[in-house]
Symmetry: C2
Subunit: 237 residues, 2 copies
DNA sequence: GCGACATAAATGTCAGACAATCAAATGTCA
DNA sequence: TGACATTTGATTGTCTGACATTTATGTCGC
């Protein structure tokens, strides 16, 4: 026999279903814990455990005090992105995804938004790209280089001006940062990458999607080589 | 002054940090609730609320009985995908993403994996595609049609043979199913879609990535028109 | 009118108890 | 000895009742 699942998870699922169905809308207030306990015929402690599960999933937020209580959360892109990134990061680290697979996925996704970026980008997007390039060109350590690198790629993704695409892609790109952080960049490598980035910015300005895709593929090859030489050096040590 | 955040969230965060840092590895067992309560100098109820939060995030799983307890979860692609899909679905519904934006993102992502699918697909992938097409060709209702539709797209994505890409894309595709479910398919529409799907399968077999991308763009245009005619019919009613 | 204070409602935390579950140790019998 | 039943200990799940903390709101005195 399957072990009976805990009551608290069942309650959490029932409330979550009501939220997903639109039965409870964002901003709505749930009944108080005492009322819910009565409604579900269980103790307040059990209801609380259910509510904590929902809070952890960003489905509700709670406030203390009079006119406090549990409210259906107004899920923002930022909050969802946080959750997506943390889950993805953990997934990649736990399943020991190798660098090549991650890079392959990442650049495939980025090439996907080249068309949209070319079609929809605005001046602000180009400015963000250039700002990231300027940062990368300065005297910064590897961690800062990676962070600016992520900023560059996010700017490129956001240039597509499609929030759904940005959300999905930004999650993927940021989740892979720990893997990218394993790289160390020699001065010559940085110069190579920067050249490619400048060419991407130029191609975007010229609205040349084919070129962007090609440069991204070049970039992927460079990163892969960078990783492999770094690894062989580590092994030889 | 900023209100002091609840103690239980602080404890949850501390444990989560230890997991993320690799301090606690997958499969490791956490101390018992009683021990943790002693360690964090709080009551067992507070520890429990913290653990429930972690469980909701798929970071730990708990088991009752002797040699039970809380274990660091071995996060699987399936579990992460579940979380990704449910968050994304909620995000799209709450933020009232319009059909066009969602479709644009979805097809851009799918076009991204055309190259990989062409390069890496195996016979099993083609079989799955054909099986989905056969299902779609049968006498099924709109909901089943949508489900089979998702199966087709997942098969296409999985043909890239890159688990990271599949995870990201499958999450995006499935999250958009509720939006796609708003469509109703007349017989003629189904025939149009099926024709395009068959062409995609053929192009994959012929390893023609350019063709796949083109057909996907055709498909996007068809879906968009389908949606718009449906909407104008609804408005005229 | 306005600030200080009491009130009420809600979540957050605590303590202790009991129930349910499960694995391993232990006992029993052929 | 070996297979099967039983006990036992550890652990999570749930309940109960209480108190602490936070916050909006009303009330009193001025």
């Amino acid at each position: 026999m399957a072990a009976r699942p805990p009551l608290s998870t069942a309650i959490a699922d029932r409330i979550a279903a009501r939220i997903a169905d639109g039965d409870l809308m964002a901003g709505d207030r749930l009944p108080s814990e005492t009322d819910l306990a009565e409604q579900f015929e269980c103790s307040r402690a059990t209801v609380r455990e259910a509510l904590k599960r929902l809070a952890a999933r960003n489905l509700i937020r709670t406030a203390r005090g009079a006119s406090g209580g549990a409210f259906v959360a107004d899920l923002t892109y930022a909050a969802a992105l946080d959750a997506h990134v943390s889950t993805s990061t953990l997934l990649l680290s736990m399943n020991a995804v190798d660098f090549q697979t991650a890079a392959e996925a990442r650049f495939a996704l980025e090439r996907a938004c080249a068309d949209l970026a070319v079609a929809n980008h605005q001046q602000a997007d180009l400015s963000r790209l250039m700002a990231a390039i300027d940062t990368l060109d300065g005297p910064i350590d590897d961690a800062a280089f990676c962070a600016a690198d992520v900023a560059f790629h996010r700017a490129l993704v956001d240039a597509g001006r499609n929030p759904v695409l940005s959300y999905q892609l930004a999650g993927a790109v940021e989740a892979m940062q720990p893997l990218m952080n394993m790289l160390t960049y020699a001065d010559r490598d940085r110069a190579t990458i920067l050249t490619l980035y400048r060419r991407i910015a130029d191609a975007l300005r010229d609205r040349d999607a084919v070129a962007i895709r090609a440069i991204l593929s070049e970039l992927e090859a460079s990163m892969l080589m960078l990783f492999q030489t770094g690894q062989s050096r580590r092994n030889a040590r």
